[in-house]
Point group: C2
Chain length 440, copies 2
């Protein structure tokens, strides 16, 4: 087969994944003479940076997700297909989707990453990670259920301590934000909800293998983040790689922390896109792409976002954040247009870094804008405004802003729902019927 375009039809661009990168590419091709097919396993685009707030009962899934079809409905050169890609036939230039084959002239792989346990896949069942909505509602359920089980009258005191201990593994933005949010959930929103236990005695431990939190931020802000977390009552353990992880807790270089809830925010592994192509990849599974994000030897295939290992024009590796994915998606769209239209290739990709933000609880955050570094309440306001601004859809912006204001003023969390089936787990049904006490 040949790459020469058939003049009787438009060029076919297939985009796999409707995350930040894939969506940006599709939208940047709005007026191009192409037929775009966007394929995703899920019917929604997810604003992942706020997923931890769903996991900690601050927001509802629909506040941070938007149907892909809704986003692209007015772009007439796009069709959306729901399906799981299982491979790419690079010879026939077809994507294999749930038993079908979808042909492409250009292929953009923007399939993202999942949390990874590297040498310990068996930890996944014990320590859930946070990448999709079902992960977030599962973690929300785990956290809320831990308090419910601790409140059950027949719970013994050792078990109560384990149930009221939460370990977050990984000191990047997700881990920091998650630990801060659990601390606030326990110490404010749930504070007077129980009669037997006292949620304010909840222990939250943030574990990081490296020497500091937020390694992608300047050191001064790492220190601020640590202090802010400690002020919220979070214990921060640095230089502490997890050596064991099971249902009863974690082990850090000999020290055991008993905990019934362990949350994994320690590593990501790219989607299997590199395997579909047999392409060169790094340990995290990312495809080593050329300067224009094309796959070496496959100029018609591109990878962007967490699927790609790419470097900036000045050689620095690009971080795995949303703005990089969006800018790369738009850049690839420009490359494809230039090829179709026979114009010169655009200038080399240069990442415009507008700054780096992470939030810690309800009024602290750290912001790194290169020369300017901000922390505390001002950074938190910046963080809130930026995140509301980047949400898709006016309604979502409005509801999230309102919900945050509400949570902020009342210390409440509206989304404290345990929705996964019935709660027979609340106490073990095989428990002998002794120890009946009445707690008023």
């Amino acid at each position: 087969m040949d790459a020469k375009p058939d003049l009787h039809r438009n060029t076919r661009v297939v985009i796999v994944g409707a995350g930040f990168g894939g969506l940006a590419a599709a939208q940047a091709l709005a007026n191009a003479p192409v037929e775009i097919t966007v394929i995703d396993r899920r019917n929604y685009h997810l604003f992942q940076p706020l997923l931890y707030q769903v996991a900690t009962a601050g927001l509802s899934p629909a506040d941070i997700a938007w149907p892909i079809r809704g986003i692209l409905r007015d772009q007439k050169n796009v069709s959306v297909q729901l399906g799981r890609v299982t491979g790419v036939d690079t010879v026939r230039r077809e994507v294999l989707v749930s038993g079908r084959r979808i042909p492409y002239d250009y292929l953009i792989l923007a399939t993202g990453a999942r949390h990874a346990y590297f040498d310990h896949p068996e930890w996944e069942g014990t320590a859930p990670g946070l990448k999709k909505i079902a992960d977030a509602t599962h973690i929300r359920e785990r956290i809320l259920m831990a308090f419910e089980k601790a409140e059950a009258e027949d719970c013994d005191s050792d078990e109560r301590v384990r149930l009221q201990t939460f370990v977050v593994v990984g000191g990047g933005p997700t881990g920091v934000e998650m630990a801060g949010a659990i601390a606030e959930l326990a110490k404010t929103a749930l504070a007077s909800d129980f009669r037997v236990i006292d949620p304010s005695t909840t222990r939250i431990v943030l574990v990081e293998a490296g020497p500091r939190l937020l390694p992608s931020f300047p050191e001064s802000l790492s220190a601020v983040a640590k202090r802010s977390l400690e002020r919220l009552g979070v214990e921060v353990c640095l230089g502490a790689p997890v050596t064991l992880c099971d249902d009863a807790g974690v082990e850090l270089a000999g020290e055991r922390i008993g905990a019934r809830t362990v949350i994994w925010a320690a590593g990501v592994m790219a989607s299997p896109a590199a395997k579909w192509l047999g392409a060169d990849r790094d340990r995290a599974g990312r495809i080593k792409v050329d300067a224009d994000f094309s796959v070496p030897g496959r100029p018609e295939i591109f990878a962007v976002g967490d699927t790609a290992l790419a470097a900036d024009a000045d050689g620095r590796p690009l971080p795995g954040v949303a703005p990089v994915a969006k800018q790369a998606g738009r850049y690839v769209a420009a490359v494809i247009r230039s090829r179709i239209e026979g114009r010169p290739t655009p200038a080399p990709f240069h990442y415009r870094d507008f700054g780096n933000l992470a939030t810690i609880g309800r009024k602290a955050a750290v912001a790194d804008f290169g020369r300017i570094r901000v922390s505390g309440f001002l950074a938190w306001v910046l963080w809130s405004v930026a995140h509301v601004y980047f949400l898709i859809g006016l309604r979502n912006r409005f509801v999230v802003a309102l919900t945050w204001l509400w949570n902020y003023v009342t210390f409440q969390r509206g989304a404290r729902l345990i929705t996964g089936g019935d709660s027979e787990e609340a106490s073990s049904p095989a428990e002998p019927e002794t120890k009946v006490r009445r707690v008023g």
Copy 2:
């Protein structure tokens, strides 16, 4: 054992179920010298009348549900236990909950009802009903997935018709509201989301075994409801009992309607509370209670809401609606207080009927206030205001009002999320890899 209160402790009131009835009883006992335990299988109180809006992607679960602990947090004489009640030991006066025993002096059973298939339990897998949040998100997924499957390129045209046909069984308020909401979802919110199919050609059939819709309303309003639905494009089949229900559709007295999505809104069956007591019950499993809602022969046990078959002071059977449950819950609280305080029993229960409302799509509704009957847009406004007013929590009222306004103005539905795992179902993976067409 004896009913005489031990003077060294407060009277123990156990309430099973935190729906409208149970919650009203607990709140009405706020200042009584009692120790209340509220037991529920779920951690949230659900505003069931709006559940169909979650099922049709209009609202998020957290908009119509509120954690029970949050509602009762400031009422110091209440403790909340999450657990499933499996029986009642009426001799020792203990409730059996997930292997534990919780003693009571007074017991209020407010365990509600589930949808029922009566002689056809095998239909449950095919035709889901709507009683809890997981039901609503499941139905939402089924509805949205039907459109996704129809859009898949390898779907044949007969299957496409079946996928775009929705049958709602049951012409009561839930069925009427559900059919109207599906029609609007398909014909407005989804109208331009697809490229292969045209959602506006979706067929929605509302099937009712009896001679008219909304049998609890005056006949004139039943006729209005039918006309309003038909204006939305819903086919209404009256006097049409379902004789068969399977994966490919339903059969109505010989006529077959091919449909991949059938929703059950035809009958309810009370919780097994009557069985726990061995009490006298009707066909729908409701306990035949005395005038004060106590169980005959068990003056210390009460049943309210959908668990009870009760009559008004003038002998009319009480309908299974939220206001009845709330008023009965408060009445039982008053009865218990009068007994504890040795005061005379309150005047016989009289249901204060403030009217009956049902909505049909985005601007029609019917309202029956006894002598005054309203329909059309005014009824729809009344319906909206009443439902926002009765929601628990200022935040929920605000977000729901805002979301409705938003949906109304934009014709959009924000909560169109398919969140249950990945969408491998989008097309059958065993499909032979032929028929590859490209649809732009």
